[in-house]
Amino acid sequence: MVGLSVGEKHFIQGGIAQDLRTDGRKRLTYRPISVETGVIPQANGSARIRMGTTDVIASVKAELGKPDLFQPDKGRVIINVDCSPTAAPVFEGRGGEELSTELSVALQRCLLGSKSGTGAGIDRSSLLVVEGKLCWDLYIDGLVVSSDGNLLDALGAAIKAALSNTGIPKVNVATAASADEQPEVDISDEEFLQFDTSGIPVIVTLTKVGRHYIVDATSEEESQMSSAVSVSVNRNGHICGLTKRGGAGLDPSVILDMISVSKHVSEQLMNKLDSEISAAEADEAE
């Protein structure tokens, strides 16, 4: 990203302080979001989200596998993000790796909860086929095509859209399988089960610039930030995950304030996303 002169930096900070950002948005307004589903036909589910110039694609692939020894009644979800070198010159070669791991970890924390599976936004027990023997492994891959700030929110929204587009093939288990053998399965090519996405949270990132917070920062505004807090909130208004980035320290009262602001913003974002996703699915069906 090109540097900004001192005058431009003051202009951006002054705008945020006066609640009028460089593109005319208020502090808590998102850029126009456009959703396309089914962009990758070979995957079980996929979606592409555009927030202004930020462009991300998420795809979901389901494969049969063996469940974890310590959690025999749950399936597995593996989230991985890749920053494409086309997104920014700094991502060339191995430059994007640090950001990719940071985004993958943040997404896992926000959507999958802890290692033991408690507090997860995605319900992993619905991925079970045969307890202890067979389960679905969901590989969720995110690709950043164009980076203009607010990647975490866009990836969270793309994963939500991709999961609502996901169809898991119906599995018929051959009966009378003994305890030691692997059961025989018949994976249907015709029938698909829709993944239940009502519990999936949305991620809202609040970027603190000066004394104010903004939502959906562009990369220029992100260069001025002191710290950023990303909160994932589900439909019931419960917090599923929390991540803080940035070197500056925050007073605890500020964090609590940011959490309540993000809860308020997440309602509108959730409704907007749901309507856009259903519109996109309707378009795809045509």
């Binding site: 002169s5 001192v6 003051h10 202009f11 009028l20 593109d23 004394r211």
Partner: protein, 332 residues
């Protein structure tokens, strides 16, 4: 014709239909107005072979025929035939007013990025010194270059010419050139800014400066009076130095107070969004079109950020159709 998908806007069905109709009408109007010879790659250029024609840029000889290698318009100058591309990279000409960003402070010069294939050079001798005196640049001046322009500063300058080794030189000797602060820089494709008599626009009613750089960099900012350094008193100088030092140590509240007033900021944001909409639609940029777009948005009572939405985009296209058809009716 612009692909609707390039716009990256969520358009619903009626909006898509309206936009397509508007773009088709614009194309028809354009075809009526100029029927110049446009060619695509591998088209033969009609040439009188007895004349001994010179093959210029964008042409090539194939089986005795002159064939175009670019998509563009055929231009003929005496015996020279060449193809001018419509959407080419910025091509500087002497006297162009450009806006650039400093990338490097080098011995006796600054290097600026101007959306060209190489960085342009602004020599220290082509720049007025802060005290306004015309004198030879000394070593002390060279050491204090950063007090004039630093890295990442946005500067407005004029193209002075090309050097024999091919590098581009700029000059910023007049008072209207120099560092640009308190505003925003936008990038648009350079072919949208046509060369005109005036590129500096001082919009008096809203106290905003609009500079349309020929290289595609557009500056929209608060109006700054062009100070004449020669007339300045010696007494006011220490005050200026003090105010600069104070700014660095000022608290946030004080900075907010000297900030751009809200009304000016709203006008700046409206102009910036108007430029964004026009450039995404591919319309040429000049002051009249930009101000008409701003007035259209005000008359429709749109919020500033809604100007980047799908509905306003379609309405801008329709408005442009009306404007061009009324212009062509006046002419013909």
């Amino acid at each position: 014709m612009r692909e609707l998908r390039d716009l990256q806007l969520p358009l619903n069905q009626t909006q898509k239909i309206r936009l397509r109709r508007a773009l088709l009408q614009l194309q028809e109007l354009a075809c009526k107005m100029n029927s110049s010879a446009s060619v695509t790659v591998a088209d033969t250029i009609p040439v009188n072979h007895e004349d001994g024609v010179l093959k210029g840029h964008g042409t090539s000889e194939l089986d005795g025929e002159v064939v175009a290698t670019l998509c563009g318009i055929v231009e003929r100058v005496n015996k020279l035939v060449y193809v001018r591309a419509l959407r080419a990279r910025y091509k500087p000409e002497v006297g162009d007013i450009i806006v650039g960003r400093v990338t490097e402070v080098a011995p006796k010069r600054w290097r600026l990025e101007i959306n060209f294939s190489q960085d342009a050079v602004l020599m220290l001798s082509s720049m007025n010194l802060p005290d306004g005196i015309q004198r030879r640049r000394t070593a002390v001046d060279e050491l204090n270059m950063r007090s004039i322009f630093e890295e990442s500063d946005v500067i407005c300058a004029e193209v002075r010419g090309f050097q024999h080794e091919g590098s581009l030189h700029l000059q910023a000797r007049s008072q209207k050139y120099g560092k640009l602060e308190r505003g925003q820089l936008l990038t648009v494709p350079p072919y949208l800014v046509k060369r005109r008599k005036q590129h500096f626009h001082h919009l008096e009613r809203i106290a905003v400066d609009l500079i349309l750089g020929c290289n595609g960099f557009i500056w929209v900012g608060e109006h700054v009076e062009a100070r004449d350094n020669m007339v300045e008193d010696q007494e006011t100088k220490p005050e200026q130095l003090n105010s600069k030092l104070n700014r660095i140590s000022m608290s946030l509240e004080e900075q907010e107070r000297i900030c751009t007033p809200l009304e000016t900021r709203q006008s700046i944001c409206r102009i910036v969004n108007a430029v964004r909409v026009l450039s995404s639609l591919g319309f040429s940029l000049n002051v009249e079109v930009i101000m008409e777009t701003v007035e259209l948005s005000v008359s429709l009572n749109l919020d500033i950020h809604e100007m980047l939405g799908a509905e306003f985009c379609v309405q801008t296209a329709e408005r442009e159709v009306e404007r061009r058809s009324s212009l062509s009716k006046k002419k013909g």
